[in-house]
Amino acid sequence: MPYLDHAATTPMLPEAIDAMTAELGGAGNPSSLHASGRRARRAVEEAREQIAEALGARPSEVVFTSGGTEADNLAVKGIYWGRRAADPARRRILASAVEHHAVLDSVLWLAEHEGAEVEWIAVDGFGRVHPETLRAAIESDPGAVALVTVMWANNEVGTIQPIAELAATAHEYGIPFHTDAVQAVGQVPVDFAGSGVDAMTITGHKLGGPIGAGALLLAKGLDPVPVLHGGGQERDVRSGTLDSPGIVGLATAVHLAADRQSEHAEYLAGLRDDLISRLREVVPDAVLNGDAGPDPTHRLPGNAHFSFPGCEGDALLMLLDAKGVECSTGSACSAGVARPSHVLLAMGADVERARSSLRFSFGRTSTKADVDALIDVIGPAVERAKRAGVAAERGSD
């Protein structure tokens, strides 16, 4: 089955499955004091060290969570609450306009319920935040900024942000900087300390680890107010029994993802470039969204994102699905209704173009046969979706 939706989730690495399976058979709560507990604790702490080493962090900076959404919630809400408690004037949150919903909706929730003042940092036509845009936003009232959050790489169009520069800009004003690096780890070099960010979200299932295991990397000195209260695990920042099998699987995958990043990126970029050039041949009017430049540090190597003028993305997705080709419109709400992507809109696309887009994303198990399968069926699918689009327009007169 041609699976071109690795940005949604990608299969687990066999090594991660092995490590996780072995741990699933082990007894012991990592917080228990007896031998079984010590054994589990050891597995968790080794995993912590492995992740820290792979991502340029210290072990004490790794806080395990249930995944990316929880890590984003903890970072955004926790840092906001902490900073506001220290100085009630700090109510501004600066977030890029292209954030994942885990950040976007956390920020909006703070605005609705906790008195936060949200400012969306504008992006350019590629979806990129420029440091000077961030600086201008901070400058209007630097002392009132609680935090800045900008994702490392965009999940829809694959645009990579100049994270180190953005973090440095925030730091000039003493403002903590969070980044959601869920899509980045394994595809581009990610160095927590080197980038200068204060908080960084990662998750297992986008890089060959399990679903339901993730982490927030938190620089020393940053103490977010907890979102989850309970047993006081993870130095009181995140309560809840540590999921030792998930954590071991996560660490194995993060370690291998970082280790193999450069060859993996090269492999994905090869497939991706093949897809882009061949798709343009069969659908000449398809528009590549995001950064199309040659610089490999500007776009995720596994991402290709197109608008198909005159088509609706969800119609196209359905037609491709019927042919066994699996991809994504990039954004979906709980009811499964495709809304025009806020990312595309922020990049200056109109609603029609935003609705007409599809994301193709590659992973470790992708092959040239996946591209072949897509290229075989995309032309007629686009033609048919265009006719459906025309039918819809006619009906709405």
Binding site: D314, A315, G336, V337, A385, V390, A392, R394, G395
Partner: protein, 358 residues
């Protein structure tokens, strides 16, 4: 055939989809998202537009083993059904939004898109039969929905599939349970799906505002006040808010609504009887447009009784003479013409009168 099964999340459309699969068709399930904000239709959960309904539909599609998608028809639904509903009430008529939804959404917007995407037919869980292109009543008289389908044209019916027409509701529920569909005992949806709490008057008041006017008797004398003529329906007896009893002490009913004058006319029950009806926008799905008078049976509201009638064309309208008077016929409802259990066609009731002979 490639069949698109519209799945509301209820038991009927789930079983209909399952039967289409069993009949050997290549079936894809689609749930129509009809609210721009699904949460707004959530309270009450009687309709087919809530997030829970979407989830029920998805789960049913999983069990049946067919692909499932959600189509966003919210804008079209709001414009063609909800706004039309409000405008019709504002114009003093009593619309049937289910009919409108079939006419404008299910067998127009959805069918057009389905055909363009390569489907051959749209399958729904309506209780009606479709045989050799003719729409007929369901075998379950109590659940029959041929009335709300009578606005569908022959061309549209040629691409429709109603697999439930030969079964009673009870049989459908039992079959759903047998198939392991969790919606087997889900309560029937009723009322207007987009009026979550069933309070149509409140829904209209919110959109049309207060519009106070007079309640008058058949002589034109003012007998009371109202807050908005749109809140009344022909034949309504309760909630007229008339302080004084009628001179003869008998209950009064709404006889007419005049939006231009913003008056509601009330009078005795006997004055509700009509036997002549003018219908507009006729649709002939079961026969060719008649050249002259035809005898038929006519149904004037959903689940209403039928009346023997003579119908004849009058320009782009049709006229009906009922063989016995009907009580409380509301403008805006559909007059559906039957020959036995076969739907001949329908028209929207534009005017009603009582001939001297009655």
């Amino acid at each position: 055939m490639r069949v698109l099964a519209a799945m509301s999340g209820g038991v009927d459309s789930a079983v209909a989809a399952a039967r289409a699969v069993e009949a050997g068709h290549d079936v894809v399930g689609v749930h129509l998202a009809l609210s721009t904000n699904p949460k707004s239709y959530r309270t009450g959960a009687r309709g087919c537009c809530t997030l829970e309904d979407a989830r029920d539909a998805r789960r049913a599609a999983d069990v049946i083993g067919i692909p499932f998608y959600v189509w966003d028809l919210a804008e079209r639904f709001d414009r063609d059904v909800v706004q039309d509903f409000v405008a019709e009430y504002a114009a003093g008529r009593t619309p049937n939004p289910c009919l409108r939804c079939n006419e404008k959404i299910k067998f127009a917007a959805v069918l057009d898109r389905a055909l363009a995407l390569g489907f051959d037919a749209v399958c729904t869980g309506h209780h009606a039969r479709l045989e050799r292109g003719l729409l007929r009543r369901s075998v379950d008289a109590a659940k029959d929905q041929s009335y709300v389908l009578a606005v569908v044209t022959s061309e549209q019916l040629a691409h429709a599939m109603f697999p439930l027409g030969d079964s009673t509701k009870e049989e459908v529920r039992m079959e759903a349970a047998r198939r392991g569909l969790a919606v087997a005992d889900k309560p029937d949806s009723h009322d207007v799906c987009f009026v979550a709490d069933g309070d149509t008057a409140g829904f209209l008041a919110e959109r049309l505002g207060r519009a106070p006017g007079s309640v008058v008797d058949t002589e034109g004398s003012v007998v009371g006040e109202h807050e908005g003529a749109y809140a009344f329906t022909i034949g309504q007896r309760r909630g007229l808010g008339l302080g004084r009893p009628s001179p003869d002490g008998r209950p009064r009913y709404v006889l007419d609504i005049k939006p231009a004058a913003n008056t509601v006319t009330v009078g005795p029950e006997a004055a509700l009887d009509v036997d002549e009806i003018v219908g507009e926008r006729p649709v002939w799905s079961g026969c060719a447009p008649p050249a002259g008078a035809i005898d038929c049976a006519v149904q004037l509201r959903a689940h209403g009784e039928t009346f023997g009638a003579t119908a004849w064309p009058d320009g782009d309208r049709i006229r009906l003479r009922l063989h016995r008077p009907a009580r409380a016929v509301a403008k805006g409802q559909a007059a559906v013409l039957y020959d036995g259990d076969v739907v001949l066609g329908s028209a929207t009731i534009a005017a009603t009168t009582r001939s001297a002979a009655v």
